[in-house]
């Protein structure tokens, strides 16, 4: 008869009968080619779920009482049926937040969004200046994002999200990001760069240095009360104070990813066969995958701390991010590559970088080299980038169907 209740996290680690929320990448098509794209997006996949198949997934989410989905991609708004699907979701008790680079957030679209209670918008931006942002996201992307934010603010959409991936070049701009969010009536969200997708190629030079990681943590503790993080910095709990959030890996337990071809992965940062749980097109659908896949059953068993168990920080950091370890070639039962005690750095030094797993699938644009400047910067980011070009490998076939067929740029 006593009402002793275990900490929620203790229950969540065993998994739930349905996710609390999930990420749904609607398409691999994208008008941009961000250097760190976690889904290696650019070109649509010919096997992407049809409109009808997407509606069946939404029906399942409704039955499972998944109240909220994060829709992304690629750039989800380039799907011709994007609005139809968003409206279908909200009509079926599934709230939507969609993540966008802003390309289609016109004043009319912004007005429509401001009038809906069940749709939230997240604008991606990775620099507080065009210089820093466009080096990662491409020329003109800063302007596109700002225009979208202006339109949302003008339409009266208060509280949309401005989402930033923290890199070596933008940690010094945290106050500026907060100011931008405040200016447009948005809520700032900062998240962790993982070595996922194209991120694997640039992680070594883009991820924050240990000193910057500490700077980021200190900033969150001091200024982060209204800043969202997606709980992506739980590995920093090893510094001492836990940041707000569940402070646990939700992959396969309370969250997961549905990708554009219906594959279900443990999380959007782990698009690899090792974390593939099944496909929504299978007989038992998404519900069957969530409940019965072997991968998720494994993740929901008590995890061994392995090499980290004896560390006094382990209870706080839980050994960090599975995807970060996996794609840097580190063992899953050892330290996170950004372990605050430095154990990850030490492990990386002895690991064979060439043996690290490669992301499964690559939907990157295969056109001419993407003009991106990445180079050594002075410690105060925001200064001029030194020149450098990242060349994509040249196409191995004559042409690709444009993922933007039928799309009229504004």
């Amino acid at each position: 008869m006593t009402t002793a209740a275990a900490p929620l996290v203790a229950e969540f680690r065993f998994g739930l009968d349905a996710p609390i929320c999930l990420t749904w990448e609607l398409t691999y098509a994208c008008n941009l080619s961000c250097v760190h794209c976690l889904s290696s997006s650019g070109r649509r996949d010919p096997r992407e779920l049809t409109t009808a198949e997407c509606k069946r997934v939404i029906d399942e989410l409704e039955r499972m009482q998944v109240f909220y989905v994060n829709i992304g991609g690629g750039e989800p708004t380039v799907r011709p049926d994007f609005w139809e699907l968003v409206d279908y979701a909200t009509a079926h008790h599934v709230g939507v937040k969609f993540s966008t680079n802003g390309v289609k957030i016109t004043p009319e679209v912004a007005s429509r969004l401001a009038g809906s209670d069940y749709i939230d918008v997240q604008i991606s931006l990775d620099g507080a200046t065009a210089e820093v942002n466009d080096a990662v996201r491409g020329r003109g992307s800063f302007a596109t994002a700002v225009r979208a934010m202006q339109n949302l603010a003008a339409a009266g959409f208060a509280g949309f999200k401005l989402s930033v991936v923290m890199t070596r070049h933008n940690v010094g701009q945290l106050n500026e990001f907060k100011a931008i969010a405040d200016r447009f009536g948005a809520q700032l969200r900062i998240t962790r760069l993982r070595p996922s997708g194209r991120g694997a190629d640039v992680w070594t030079e883009l991820h924050p240095t240990p000193a910057q990681q500490r700077e980021l943590y200190d900033w969150l503790v001091a200024h982060g009360e209204n800043v969202l993080t997606g709980d992506s910095f739980f590995h920093l709990a090893g510094y001492g104070q836990e940041l707000p959030g569940l402070n646990m890996c939700g992959a396969g337990r309370v969250v997961c990813l549905i990708d554009p071809v219906g594959d279900v992965y443990a999380c959007p940062f782990a698009i690899h066969d090792a974390f593939l749980a099944g496909n929504v097109r299978s007989a038992a659908g998404f519900a069957g995958v969530w409940r019965d896949s072997e991968l998720f059953a494994d993740l929901r068993r008590p995890q061994s701390g392995g090499a980290c168990t004896s560390c006094s920080a382990f209870d706080a950091c839980q050994g960090g991010c599975m995807a970060a370890k996996f794609f840097t070639g580190l063992p899953l039962d050892g330290p996170d590559p950004e372990c605050v005690r430095g154990f990850g750095e030490a492990a990386l030094a002895t690991a064979d970088a060439t043996a690290a797993p490669r992301p499964s699938g690559d939907h990157s644009h295969r056109t001419a080299p993407v003009p991106i400047s990445i180079g050594p910067r002075p410690a105060d980011s925001g200064a001029a980038a030194s020149a450098g070009l990242i060349e994509r490998s040249m196409p191995d076939r004559a042409c690709d169907q444009s993922p933007l067929a039928g799309f009229t740029p504004r």
Partner: protein, 47 residues
């Protein structure tokens, strides 16, 4: 509060029973343990 939620998962059965008992005596009806609010953004593994 227990020092670690993970301690509740790993040790052998008799230790688990002891741990649960000590929770019951230490924090029987502490304020707000019956309701916990979670930020919709507070789960790792979503955009």
């Amino acid at each position: 509060m227990p020092d670690s939620a993970t301690e509740l998962l790993d040790p052998p059965a008799d230790e688990i029973i002891d741990e649960v008992t000590s929770i019951e005596t230490d924090e029987i009806i502490a304020a707000d343990t019956l309701v916990e609010e979670i930020s919709i953004d507070g789960m790792c593994g979503v955009y």
